[in-house]
Structure formats: C-alpha cells, structure tokens
C-alpha cells in the first residue's frame, strides 16, 4: 500500500517539477527582458540628429542597467535611417520575423559562439533634415538568466521534496493506524485453533467488531457442519461394521460346520448380508457424490422428460420378471431445467428402487410430471403400503429406518433431500392416488445456485 502511494507521489512530483521548470524559465526571461527593454529604450533616447546626420550619445544609464547582470556580455548595434551602421558590432544576427509594425521584438539567437537574447527596437525620426526608421539592436548572453532559473528551480525542488516526504510520513502513519485492528485480529487468528469451540475475543475497536462477529459466525457454522459430519461418519461406520460382522459370523459358522447340508443356508445368509453391504456402500458413495455436486453447483440444461423416460425404462428392464405395472404420465411439455442431471437421476432412481423394494409383488408404479409457471413437479407414485403421516418426517432423516421388517440403508431419502435442496426445491411425502406413497420433488424453474 505504501509502495503504491510512493509511486503515485513520485508521479505527482514529476508533473509538478515540469511546471516549476516552466515557471522558472518564464520568470527569468521576463525579468531580464525588462532590463533589455529599458536599456534599449535608453539607448534609443541617446539618438540625436546633428544637421543631416544621426548620431548616438550612448547613455551611461543603459550600461548601468546592463551591469545588473555582471557575468554577461552585451553587444549592440545602432542603424541609421538608410540602414547604415552608426555604431556597434556590424554583424549582429537580425531576425527575419521582425517587421515594421511592432516597435519592439525579442528573440534568441547564436552570436560569437554564445547563446544570446536579442531585442530590436525602432523609432521613426521625422526631423526636417532626416526622416526614416532608426534601429537599435541590443543582445545579452544568457548566464544571468540561467543562474536565476536554476536558483528558482533549486528552491522549489527543495520545498516540493519536503512536502512529499511529509506526505509519505503522514500516509505511512495513517495506513498503519488504520490497519492496526486488522493486524491484531490476524495475530489472534494465527494463534487460534480453528476447531476449538472458543470464539475470538470481542474487540473494543468499533470498526472491526462486525468482522470479528462474522469470523465467529463462520467458525460456529463450520463446527456445526463438522458435528453433523462426525455423526454421519459414526452412523455410517456403525452400519458398515454391523454388516461386516454379520458376514464374518456366517463365514465362521460355515467353516466350523460339520454338516455339509447346512452350507447352502449359510451361503444364502452371507449373500444377503453382502448384498446389504453393497447397497449401503453404493448409497454412501451416491450420497457423498450428490452432496459434493450440490456444493460445487454443477448445473446444465436438463431435459427432465428424457431423463425420466430413460430411468423408467431401466427400472422396467431390471424388474421385468415382476408383476409390477409401470406407467408414465406427462401432461404438458416440460421446460428445460437448470440443474444437475446426474444428481437428479440418482434421486429418482432411489425413489423408484424404494417403490419396487418396499411395495408388494403386484405393485403399480407411476412417474408423473407436471409443470406450472414457477416450476416442475416430479412425482413417483406407488400402490404399496405407504408411510403413515406421523412417520414421514422421521423417514427423511439420515439412517432412520422404519420398522417395517425390510432392510434398507436408511440413506435413500436423505440423498433425495440433498439433491432437491441443491436445486433450491422441496421434497414431500404425500398420499398417492394409487393408494400408496407419493414422493414429490418440487423444483423451481430458477434453481438457486
């Protein structure tokens, strides 16, 4: 921050210096041009007409004036009415730009290997004997001007530089003071463990107390997420270990068994436990995937109708040997939905699996799609036993299995909830017109990202 301010100040310094240089040159020129002007005027005053001749009586005052610049050389030339040299240097550099209309003209020139400032002045003589323009050319070297210009420059630079240094010091102090509360917070954050339940101490500095409370809120949120995660892991490992130990037990029993006729029974139990474990593993991975995809907000345009048709087809194919009747209903063409087709697929696949595995052999399963101005409804109806109203809220909780004698992972509906929430929608369990359960996914058109 200080470095950037320094660069800014430096550029201001450069711009100001250019201004000062220009000003110094102007004022040096201005002062010495006045001297030249007066001197040339007084020389002009010394011109007299004697008979038919113009003569110069060089005034003392003119030289007095020029001596104010004591290091400089002065050259002069006086020309008569015919342009003839009356006195002075014959080869003074004359400017082309000079014309008769203005009585006086200043310019820079090069003379006798030195830079000079020249003034030309003329005057019309209208004596009876002599009439016409007489010209005075006066030149002076530039040493005094340069001296004056560098004097002004030097003093201005000193002042400017002083101001800049002061500004830098003030800035440095101000920035440090303004950021001091932040650095004190970062010090306490550095010494603070993220996972300790203790919040950061409130600060007396009013300006940063919102920051402290925001950090504390963030930490509290993190801790609560962590607690949920811990419980989830504990539940999941409990479930996995249960299935594993049941398998292990059956394996041990089978290997100890003397009677070969018992083996098929043990094998059947092992197969069942293994299927349960497989299902649980799949559900856990799916759960992790949909949560991750929800967090990273993967969205694309989803053609819900074709996804649902495909899912239903897969479900029919997998359950073709059963007597379940499948149907599909879509009243109106659905708009494309901004969402994640993979998560949606997993959610509906879970609901279809539930409908198949918890329903009777002669079940009816229907996917029903509806749309209105604000969003779409995906409904999976079945004619199974359903879930009593008082147990529906419990059914949505993770690892809550209802005591219906059937084994499930307890994760299926929680996967659906995660997916629907990631799409900014709601998940409802309702009564189905087919007599069983209706699982309704309400997805708004403008998914919350």
């Amino acid at each position: 921050m200080l470095g950037r301010s320094a660069i800014l100040l430096l550029s201001i310094f450069i711009i100001l210096s250019l201004g000062v240089w220009h000003y110094a040159r102007q004022s040096a020129n201005y002062s010495y041009d006045r001297l030249l002007n007066s001197a040339s005027l007084s020389i002009m005053e010394g011109l007299h007409v004697y008979g038919k001749q113009v003569d110069l009586d060089l005034p003392y005052a003119a030289f007095e004036m020029m001596q104010l610049a004591d290091q400089d050389k002065v050259f002069y030339q006086v020309l008569g009415t015919q342009g003839e040299l009356i006195t002075g240097y014959a080869d003074m550099p004359l400017s082309d730009e000079f014309n008769e209309e203005s009585p006086i003209f200043f310019y820079n020139a090069h003379y006798l290997s030195e830079e000079v400032r020249v003034v030309i002045r003329h005057k019309r003589l209208s004596e009876p004997a002599v009439s016409g323009w007489v010209t005075v050319v006066l030149a002076q070297t530039l040493r005094a001007r340069h001296q004056m210009m560098s004097d002004i420059l030097y003093r201005s630079f000193v002042v400017l530089f002083g101001i800049m240094v002061c500004v830098m010091i003030v800035l440095w102090v101000a920035i440090n003071r303004a950021l001091e509360p932040l650095s004190s917070i970062s010090k306490s954050l550095a010494s603070h463990s993220l996972l300790s339940a203790e919040p950061i101490k409130a600060t007396p500095i009013q300006e940063v107390s919102p920051l402290v409370s925001a950090i504390n809120d963030y930490q509290a949120q993190l801790l609560s997420n962590l607690a949920v995660m811990k419980r989830f892991i504990a539940d999941a490992s409990h479930q996995i270990r249960t299935a594993q130990s049941a398998t292990q037990a059956q394996l041990d029993l089978a290997s100890q068994s003397q009677n070969l006729a018992d083996l098929p029974e043990h094998l059947d139990k092992i197969r069942k436990e293994h299927e349960r474990l497989t299902r649980l593993t799949n559900q856990l991975l799916t759960h992790a995937m949909v949560v991750h995809r929800g967090d990273t907000a993967v969205t694309e345009k989803v053609d819900v109708e074709s996804v649902m048709k495909q899912l239903l087809t897969e479900c029919v194919r997998d359950n073709v040997h059963r007597l379940i009747e499948f149907s599909y209903q879509c009243e109106r063409k659905l708009p494309l939905l901004m969402g994640d087709s993979i998560s949606l697929r997993e959610a509906v696949r879970n609901l279809l699996d539930n409908a198949v595995s918890y329903g009777s052999e002669q079940n009816q399963i229907e996917i029903c799609l509806r749309t209105d101005a604000t969003g779409i409804d995906i409904m999976i109806d079945d004619a199974g036993p359903g879930i009593p109203i008082e147990l529906r809220a419990k059914a949505l909780e993770r690892f809550q299995r209802l005591d219906n004698g059937l084994s499930g992972s307890g994760l299926g509906l929680s996967i659906v909830t995660s997916v629907v929430e990631a799409h900014g929608g709601n998940f409802f369990l309702e009564d189905s017109p087919l007599g069983g359960l209706r699982a309704r996914l309400r997805l708004p058109n403008e998914a919350v990202s």
């Binding site: 497989t278 593993t281 799949n282 991975l285 799916t286 995937m289 048709k309 239903l312 087809t313 029919v316 194919r317 073709v320 040997h321 009747e325 499948f326 149907s327 599909y328 209903q329 879509c330 993979i342 997993e346 229907e366």
Partner: protein
Amino acid sequence: MRMLLIEDNESLADSIRVYFRNLGHPIDWIGSVEKAESSLSFADFDMLILDINLPGKSGFQLLQSLRNQGNRIPVLVLTARTEVDDRVSSLDFGADDYLAKPFDFRELAARCRALYRRERGGASNEIQCGNLVYDLAAHSAKVNDVTLDLRPRELQLLELFLKNLDRVLTKDDIANRLYSYDEAYTPNAIEQTLTRLRKQLDGSTLIIKTIRGLGYLAHVDD
C-alpha cells in the same frame, strides 16, 4: 461363445473365468490394454468384457480405438460405482452394455448372452432368446420346439420386438413398422395384436411389458 476379459484385478478375473468355464464358455483373460493390443487379435473373440479402470491405457481408450478401426465386436463395460458418469460415457464411446461393480455373476452371464444374441441376430437367420427361437427366413417362431400359431401381423410385431430388445417402442413406432401409409389402423388394433401375441408367448422367456404412457418393452428373462 468365446470371450475375452480385460480386467486387472486378478481374483475377480479368476472368479469370472471359473464361472464362465463352468457354464461351458471358453474365456481368455488378460491384465492390461497394452498386452491385449500387442498379443491378441480381437477377431478371434465373439465378445469383450472390459474393465474401465486399468493400469496404463484405460478401457475407454481401447474402446475408442476399436470403434475407430471399425471393429464391431460386442463390448460389455465393467465400471466402478464411484464414477457415475462412466456409465453414460462408456455407452457414448461405443460400448454395447455396462455393469457396475459389484455385480451378480448371473446378471453378467445374462447380459453377455443378450449381447451375443443381438450380434448373432444380424448374421444368421435364427434369433434365439432363451427357449424362444425365431426364424427370420421362414417367419416362424418356436417355444420349446413347438411352433406357435401366429398371424402375419403378430409375427411382424414379434420380429420388431426381438430386434429392439430392452428398448422402449412407442405405439407410433410400432404402427409405423407394422402398417403402410395407406393402411388405416387404430391403437386398439395394435393392442389386440399384442394381447394375442402375449397369449401365444405364454411360457416363453420373452416378456413384453407395457409401460402405460410410454410404450412397450421386450426383455428376455433367462
């Protein structure tokens, strides 16, 4: 049918080999795509069972290069459940079917049979689906060697289903294949044909399922 299994997990590969040998199918196993490409000719096999996650070149790469060469060998892809997208992309890359690990060996065998059947259907005049045999040339169907008494429309419908196993056919699909433009038909007529066909197929392993609102799906349940 002679099969090739490309799978890097040795114990799984061993189990699959034992299972298929017990069923009487010759099966060869190889552990990586590189070895398969250098030492084998895919023309010797009727079917390829391909794992996606392999050391070195992945199954996808092999699948792509096979299809780019115009090789139409039926490929069944094995994927791990963690890569859900794999299932979709493997079909896009030209696989004929997929199975997610862990899987039931009976299902693997059934899917392999289905693929083999689909492949053979194009080449020979007979389509065999479990206990149902359909003769494309003679236009006759047998269940357990008993010829079914089917009318021409029912035979056409059966043939249509056999060529589109495990795919949903809408009523329009069926009508377009069964009737010419100038023939008038009613949706009812299709349903009646189907009802009679189903009655005749009773006892066969071919099941025609109705999905109300979507269409019909035929599946061989063996």
